[in-house]
């Protein structure tokens, strides 16, 4: 034990003697860990939050398809679906997209449906009249549509329509409401000039979750031109988006992993003349080969662990305190309205173990293996160079 502590003490002093090089290595290593960990934390937190909130999404959404494309669905289908055993309620949903040419942003216009007008994350209330609306935080900020003010939108007939803002969603709900403009169902039908007997799709409530797949199959059999989307499929969609096999993970991972491989390769391809001389002197004064290897091992462990934990802490603060500002430009794409992430801290320990395994072990190997040859060579020839 004392032997290890003494060698560790020597290793730390040795690193301190080469403080600038050590600091540069720590900075690069920590940065690489921070980048990879930020991606892992962000995607895991987004996936966890999305999965948790989509548990409250409709059990089944039924769309009509025409020529492989989404078409409006007759409201009469709701009565037939309601007659199926196991279906509690079928509600028409009215929603669509609106392009605001003024600020070059896309909004989602959605009907409020029936139910409570007040929500905890809504300042004000949902609209009850055709000339009222509730807006997401992003829309409110971009259009100056605060509570009590007016919002003008151009409808399908190219006429301006004025809506009074009765509610603004809080920034805590931005992940789901940032681009929303909520109108009454009747206002949506008039705005988009929808046929009176059609809706965008139908939301089906099924109390027994085990019956969802069966009822979806029954709907598909009765209405072959429809596409029932189950809640599991909603959640699976976002599993695919945020999992490592998806484009996002690979795109953001690849740069960071390549940078780290470059660092490890540079270390593994040889040691400097100063390091060779140091090892020669240590061997000459009586250090055994195993002592020299242990020294380099402790140097590698010290750098690896300090960098690993520093990188993790930086990534945690970056994602959960500041909302991942370095990653959002990559994710944002061409979106004008992009929510501020206010994610619950949620870390998958398996990700941390995997990250540690694929960074600490290769770095240790690239530190210890190049030393092997020098450590087993005659000290005199090593010192002579």
């Amino acid at each position: 034990m004392m032997r290890h502590l003494n060698i560790l003490n020597y290793a730390l002093n040795s690193l301190y003697r080469r403080k600038f090089k050590t600091f540069a290595l720590l900075a690069a290593y920590s940065f690489t860990i921070a980048v990879i960990a930020s991606v892992l934390f962000l995607t895991h937190a987004l996936k966890t939050e999305t999965n948790a909130l989509l548990a409250s999404a409709p059990d089944l959404v039924v769309q009509k398809m025409l020529g492989g494309r989404h078409d409006l669905i007759p409201i009469q289908h709701a009565e037939s679906i309601n007659a199926f055993l196991g279906v509690q309620q079928t509600t028409p949903r009215y929603w669509g997209y609106y392009y605001d040419a003024l600020i070059k942003a896309n909004y989602t216009l959605i009907g409020a449906g029936s139910g409570s007008q007040h929500l905890d994350l809504l300042e004000g209330r949902l609209p009850t009249k055709p000339d009222e609306c509730a807006v997401g935080k992003g829309v409110s900020m971009l259009r100056g549509a605060q509570l009590g003010k007016d919002l003008i939108l151009i409808n399908n007939k190219n006429m301006g329509v004025l809506y009074k803002v009765t509610g603004v969603f809080s920034s805590a709900s931005s992940m789901f409401t940032n681009d929303l403009v909520v109108l009454t169902d009747r206002a949506i039908v008039e705005f988009f000039d929808l046929p009176q007997n059609k809706a965008t799709d139908l939301a089906v409530t099924i109390p027994n979750k085990r019956e969802i797949q069966t009822i979806a199959a029954k709907i598909k059999k009765k209405f072959p031109d429809t596409r029932p989307i189950t809640k599991n499929e909603l959640i699976k969609t976002y599993d695919l988006v945020f999992n490592w096999r998806s484009g996002m993970m690979l795109t953001l991972f690849s740069g960071a992993i390549f940078a780290f491989c470059l660092l490890a390769w540079d270390k593994a391809t040889g040691i400097s003349a100063d390091e060779k001389q140091e090892i020669g002197i240590l061997k000459a004064i009586g250090w055994s080969t195993s002592d020299v290897l242990l020294l380099k091992f402790w140097e590698g462990i010290a750098i690896s662990l300090v960098s690993f934990f520093a990188g993790i802490i930086i990534a945690y603060i970056h994602v959960f305190s500041f909302g991942a500002p370095a990653l959002t430009p990559i994710m944002k794409g061409w979106s004008t309205l992009f929510p501020l992430f206010q994610l619950q801290p949620n870390i998958n320990l398996l990700h941390l173990y995997t990250l540690g395994f694929f960074t600490v072990i290769p770095y240790l190997a690239s530190t210890v293996f190049p030393i092997w040859k020098t450590a087993t060579t005659d000290p005199e020839s090593v010192m002579r160079g």
């Binding site: 948790a52 909130l53 989404h70 789901f176 940032n178 199959a217 499929e233 484009g247």
Partner: protein
């Protein structure tokens, strides 16, 4: 507590997708989009929105194969 409030909001408005990528309809609602939307602009058109390279196509397991 805030998680429960968010769930109540999602349930009340029957929301199906988070409002992350608002650049196109199939990136705004990937779970609701049909397979043609990313390539709708012209024959052999590419999916040219950046978010399309991030989002994988949704699983349409409830659809019967032709």
């Amino acid at each position: 507590m805030q998680q429960e409030q968010k769930k109540a909001l999602v349930h009340r408005l029957t929301l199906t997708d988070p409002a992350i990528w608002t650049e196109a309809r199939y990136t705004r609602h990937p779970s609701q989009a049909d397979l043609f939307s990313p390539f709708q602009d012209a024959p052999a058109s590419f999916d040219h929105f950046p978010a399309g390279s991030i989002i994988a196509p949704p699983p349409f397991s409830s659809e019967q194969s032709p």
